[in-house]
Assembly symmetry: D2
Amino acid sequence: MTSGENHVKHASNKIKVGILGTSGYGGAELLRRLARHPQVEISGIGSRQFAGQKLGACWPQFAGDFPNLCFTDADKVIENSELIFSAAPHGQATHWLKKALESGKRVIDLSADFRLSPDDYQQWYHMDHPYPELYSRSVYGLVELHREELADAELVANPGCYPTTASLALAPLAAQGLLGRDIIVSAASGVSGAGRGPSLDLHYTETNENFRAYNVAGNHRHTIEIENTLGRISTMGRKLKTHLPFERPIISFTPHLVPMTRGILASCHTRPEKAVDEAELFELYRDFYQDDLLIIVSEELPQTKAVYGSDRCIISVRFDPRSQQIIALATIDNLGKGAAGQAMQNFNLMHGFEETLGLALEGVWP
Amino acid sequence: MTSGENHVKHASNKIKVGILGTSGYGGAELLRRLARHPQVEISGIGSRQFAGQKLGACWPQFAGDFPNLCFTDADKVIENSELIFSAAPHGQATHWLKKALESGKRVIDLSADFRLSPDDYQQWYHMDHPYPELYSRSVYGLVELHREELADAELVANPGCYPTTASLALAPLAAQGLLGRDIIVSAASGVSGAGRGPSLDLHYTETNENFRAYNVAGNHRHTIEIENTLGRISTMGRKLKTHLPFERPIISFTPHLVPMTRGILASCHTRPEKAVDEAELFELYRDFYQDDLLIIVSEELPQTKAVYGSDRCIISVRFDPRSQQIIALATIDNLGKGAAGQAMQNFNLMHGFEETLGLALEGVWP
Amino acid sequence: MTSGENHVKHASNKIKVGILGTSGYGGAELLRRLARHPQVEISGIGSRQFAGQKLGACWPQFAGDFPNLCFTDADKVIENSELIFSAAPHGQATHWLKKALESGKRVIDLSADFRLSPDDYQQWYHMDHPYPELYSRSVYGLVELHREELADAELVANPGCYPTTASLALAPLAAQGLLGRDIIVSAASGVSGAGRGPSLDLHYTETNENFRAYNVAGNHRHTIEIENTLGRISTMGRKLKTHLPFERPIISFTPHLVPMTRGILASCHTRPEKAVDEAELFELYRDFYQDDLLIIVSEELPQTKAVYGSDRCIISVRFDPRSQQIIALATIDNLGKGAAGQAMQNFNLMHGFEETLGLALEGVWP
Amino acid sequence: MTSGENHVKHASNKIKVGILGTSGYGGAELLRRLARHPQVEISGIGSRQFAGQKLGACWPQFAGDFPNLCFTDADKVIENSELIFSAAPHGQATHWLKKALESGKRVIDLSADFRLSPDDYQQWYHMDHPYPELYSRSVYGLVELHREELADAELVANPGCYPTTASLALAPLAAQGLLGRDIIVSAASGVSGAGRGPSLDLHYTETNENFRAYNVAGNHRHTIEIENTLGRISTMGRKLKTHLPFERPIISFTPHLVPMTRGILASCHTRPEKAVDEAELFELYRDFYQDDLLIIVSEELPQTKAVYGSDRCIISVRFDPRSQQIIALATIDNLGKGAAGQAMQNFNLMHGFEETLGLALEGVWP
């Protein structure tokens, strides 16, 4: 059997799972999903800032849950766990993840540390990659495109939120050779994508009733992740391998900040070389994602609220005969499919569980 | 089995459950909870407006779910179901609920139709109660206070959102004789409490960045529900019976509208006749709710976000020695514990399931 | 005299100004500006819906103002006024505006009725233009580009909110021949752009925490207005004439709805044929707008909050050397420079007043 | 002539006005109002953090204004000015204000430093008052109640935002002896009341979609200000003197935080000893405020949006015959009438200008 993805493992012994960086939003959302996963035992939650304190000291939404669960240091989390999720910011947990891998634990890293080759990492994150040898053992965890190589992964690099959205929106076009010379990705995110650390920029009164672009003109680090995925598809087709060579396109990526808590919408424009019509595009998209439970190809334009608190991605596509542009649109919850949800999807895949086990399907509407 | 086992279904004989009024927010939230309940089969969804259309035509968050589920008329929902939830507005479904009860189905009504005696109903809703004889067979579904009589109920009157919040905040004080001459309930709700029907008052641009009181000075219909529950507790103590006689106090209830989607917070003030201290109050509250899984007594002041999308109630209490006022505060999600969550809690109780099965515990934070 | 002299009135002969469509947001914002204009007397406010009622019945923000001002029918407004603003939706006031013009009054129309040639109007608004002969007498009121011909205008077609934003963002590029083959305008608006009429789509709970695209793929009526202005500039340069012939480009315009009340941001992408650098672009923009008091060319990226309640436009520009794209960004308050503010600017220009008289300069921050 | 309040001074020489604490919201709102005041010259803006930088470095809404205005240190602001506004937090500018007063400048302090007697200051702010002798020279700047003594004031203590709202709501009742044994003030504020300093509590994602009480049970420092004003009215009637003796009542004040930027609503409950009816109450309120241009007594319930960006206060009142409670409700913009607007009103009064000169009357709606 090549992959366990369609088989529910009825484990009598639950998997011991630890989380690093549990005081960030990604960590909290992992914990909420793990708490309802029937095959999981929470074996440790790490946080430098809250070490020694109870879960409730950090997170009001867990009031009354896990009354005996305390934050510990990373060593203890790793020691007690079979699999480690890291939701710490990039550059902060690589040392621990190396230790975890060395002691035979599997790792799912939600940060950017293992998403890029050491060269790209240096260029976009302005620091040398600390463990280039680990990069070569990692698998890029964009599930729908890398599913085959993820089942046996020991180290998963969980994709960024914008790259998940834009890549899923454009993947069928890339596979079909429909990307034109210019690829314009205009995307907008709720504020939780920027994390929990307070700053003047994200202070309530400065952000409420305020819409703005940021990191314009090729400055956002997620640009290269999107380019990598589109390049891999153009080179390899549907089933991607993280470490095979590929040629990559250049995109223009313009992110915006929306005065809302959650949600990303990417509106992607490209002008294909050959003529298309909208019905063909829908057929293409439906075929491409026919086996993907978390991808909804919808005739309705996607809206972020439909995936609030959900781990799905909703995609639609249009063709504008006047300007000859294809407009591909996708939405996810940046903390769901854009972070914790996709990490859990990877977790399920790595253990042969049903891919949606413990995940949230329907969005919290209204 | 915990409430989290939302995707593994073991039962061979699931309960056939239908929903009336599925095009409103209460209906949608019931459906979202029922979809992950392991002992339930959705046997019908009713909506006059959407009859004949697919679920997705009404609700973007269910995109891709239940692809074959269509709205039907109420008769068909009732015919195919063993238990009927009604999320239709008051006065609109009583006829169908009567038919359901006559054919031996159990009913959980989220509207106000069976919450009040026919006299009170006439006074507060300005219409004659259509079926006074059914009222006498109903049980008031405020679970923590009526649990004993709910297990065998055939017709449950699910409480209003404000009454749930304020009653749970004040219940321990009522039980202990600590309610003073004046009881001031100042409460505030997110906008979803007003339903899905568009109106100028609730148009986005008129409501955003706007905080206002409404139905001030004894005009809100939920006033009498709160008075009933406090009166029953003062008369009967902890375990309430819907149809025993009781004396009721008068409260001053001032509701406010908050520019947010979900959540209610009640801040209740009363000046007890006898001296109290805050530590005693916390002991009283913790004892009172010690067996209630969905009630969290917290030293931290409650905040609505902690129960966003959750079916819990978080309560805290303070004593102000300067003004001699007790301030009791509680928060719920008006669509969770204030509507669909409590209805599901009633459902579980009526079938002997674990009370939190299919419910949402942790809030969606941030 | 500065724009701030809002309470000291010197003129003995004020201009009698009437408003049609005063029960919409554009009308209310006109009234707020006219109330502080030292050279204006409000001579009538029209509203079909509120005719005979006092101003306060419609608008809470005017509580206590103009205690004797009542809504009347359009005939009376026109009869008593020297100049008529119309803030009624397109297609609803043309009949009255014709009458006003015939009796020698000047007109500023905030609707789309006189913005397009009869042919374009028919194509984009799907109705025959009722008075093609009036179109030929109108001037397109995008002040910074049409200033010369506006001073003597008898009928001003006040531009749409998106066209104002995108045209001002791209005008210097058009003038310099820097627009490439593809012009992608991705823009986002607060909800007030959709007017005051309640609908499910714009109900608070459906719109809050929701970001979405709409009218994707060439369907939005503002597309043609942007194309007209860019075409005129490419043909005529800096000083535009509404009725001279021109060639127009095709753009791809994708509007989005932001969960906020006010504000538009346009992020425009184009890839010029010739090489540019960012410093040159800034010089170009500063030169182009050097005499325009309401246009701020800013090195900081524009954000909508900076123009909340203001009549200014803030513009910035970037060049991405990787993708060779110029990204031009502009923000306005859709009810300010995007509607009532620009209409007032036109009014001042038509009467030889200082252009910013009665306008709001600084945004209401936070 | 006893007071200059009704006479517009046509100064040929504008008053030189400086602001300390200009990098906070109060300072920015002062600057916006001063910029449009015809009798004012901005002579200096102070900020420790931004000293030496241009205005635009701190405030995006002033982009393009005062291109040569730089932040300086406090000494320079004082030296160049005839009147000093201080918008610095309490305890931070008293030293400078003393120097300003000593050199004969007039001072309007928006902080709490001169609002309370040294004893009360010590008790509520937990620090010794640095200059008790200055307190005795200060006037409490709640304009409508202290107008007579404000005209000649050299040091004005501008009231807090909650005290302004609650005091104006309850003043007519206090004057008429209608305050009962218990006075419950439940109030809610937009987030800008907490200032511009970022913190986890006020981070966008933690505050959005979150309603909560804070400083419950007599802990909020504004409590004593409200009690002082109600006590003064009960003792002195309509025209208050800051330094006459008075008896004060005790109130129960419960503030809440609303997920919005601006606005305060106070809902005040008290049960009078003698019977009242609602019509009498409205007559009482209208008489009490008949000469106050910024107070609107409205039959409609007040809503914060109606005063967004405005310097008015809207008040309404109800009587609940069931509970015998009077409910008095008032709304202001916390940065308008609750801070900068009232400070400007004081400024006008102190110089014999029209009281509303430079102020904002109509709210920014929507």
